[in-house]
Point group: C2
DNA sequence: CAGTGGTCTAGACCACTCT
DNA sequence: GAGTGGTCTAGACCACTGC
């Protein structure tokens, strides 16, 4: 029935077919990757996409349902379907898991300690899929709640994507870094993998976080990915859990 | 159209309607709670459920889709739809997040240090929705990989549900605790909330885990829920992250 | 009011599993 | 082959949004 997709199989190999809605899903994801629609934009309506792809509305619907479940799109009844953005509170706390022991989860104050371009060390290069020595941006940053610091972050970004990033531009912004990355540098962070360990604060860290030397800290190593599972950020965080805890829901 | 559900609204209040598939979802969940179908069992086919509830197959399908997404059910093409169980490898690692620095994630050896009935301390009672002083079971347990211990757990269970649990019964079993709980005590753990902090090992803990005193450890406080969001387990774990890390995927 | 997503139906056909 | 879930269609109607 209807349009022939799946026309993209390798030369000699037997073509592999996939369900129509999966192919539609792929086409929409390509549109997101290519920047056809930017974060916050409305994508075409289900009816229009159905016409464009020559499939039924139900098929488009299933594709969009899955993309919404993966947090790439957000449906709003009566309005349309929109590209997810980090400005929404919901998305912010998907990535910021520290919660105060007392009171609500709220957005912390950020102080940029440093922002400079450096050649990628081997480990960072490997994680970011670059070559050792390629240009990267290193940001060091301190998060605090009402004057009390609780997170020290070291953030590595590919230099090629984040041109013109400076300490000043970062400092001026009151929005989360991920919002800035998507609005100013066109890079939408989609998902992340974290490796969490317990470590001790050395003298330098202890001073910055205003805690005793050898205090226990969470060490959180994060690799963040954009569309197409492309790694675009390495973040090494040290979290003080004296007044906060890392919240996780297993389901 | 068709059967009138939603007949369960409070006396004076205006009845609130919900989509049919949500109601079907509720009915299936009730069946799971009531034990109509046990973990591993096949539930009735979509066609039969549709007939039973007097709705279309598509509506049942949407209900089941959501329950499968919540990991309560597992679909198997050509076979049927089954109640999820902790015996499957997939489900096991949903709750065991520690991964070795080197090598694959694998299931650890377990040693029961202690298993006895105690009156619930106030904190545990609150978390388990019991009264302080109610009967609970306290299990202390050590996990290790090839002789090296890396997790010390303290597990609290409601005494009323876990009658006849003993150190011996636990020790004999080679399956994960959650498998045992569901097969022997009819309690299926469905989801959990964790609070993670960094702490230091005291002398007692250090000895058991064979690490130096004041080593950094992950402190993981977990509350586990069955069907209907009923809390049925409190687990306080201390994880050594010398050779392991806690793996988390943010999406 | 028109346009959007949300629900529900009825039916066709496919893919997989077991006997 | 019979029975299961998986895909796809076409169309109806509802609920919400904004003009």
């Amino acid at each position: 029935m209807s349009a022939a997709f799946d026309s993209l199989s390798g030369a000699g190999s037997a073509p592999t077919f996939s369900p129509l809605y999966q192919q539609i899903k792929g086409l929409i994801t390509q549109g997101l990757q290519a920047g056809d629609w930017k974060p916050g934009d409305m994508i075409p309506s289900e009816i229009e996409l159905a016409a464009r792809f020559k499939v039924s509305q139900g098929t488009v619907r299933k594709a969009i349902d899955e993309l919404a479940a993966e947090n790439l799109l957000v449906r709003r009844q009566g309005k349309g379907t929109f590209v997810a953005t980090h400005i929404e509170a919901r998305t912010q706390f998907r990535f910021l898991r520290l919660t105060p022991d007392e009171g609500e989860q709220r957005y912390p104050d950020s102080r940029i300690l440093e922002c400079r371009r450096v050649r990628a060390p081997a480990e960072i290069a490997r994680l970011l899929d670059l070559r050792a020595g390629d240009s990267t941006v290193l940001i060091r940053r301190l998060l605090s709640h009402s004057g009390t610091p609780f997170v020290l972050d070291e953030i590595w970004l590919p230099g090629a994507i984040f041109r013109g990033i400076t300490s000043e531009r970062l400092a001026e912004s009151k929005v989360p870094l991920y919002s800035l990355f998507e609005s100013e540098f066109g890079t939408k962070m989609v998902r992340a993998d974290e490796q969490i360990r317990a470590v001790l604060a050395d003298a330098t860290v202890a001073e910055v976080l205003k805690i005793p030397v050898r205090s226990p800290l969470l060490s959180v190593d994060r690799v963040t990915y954009t569309y197409g599972d492309k790694p675009v950020e390495v973040r090494k965080g040290l979290y003080s859990t004296r007044d906060h805890y890392y919240k996780n829901e297993l389901s």
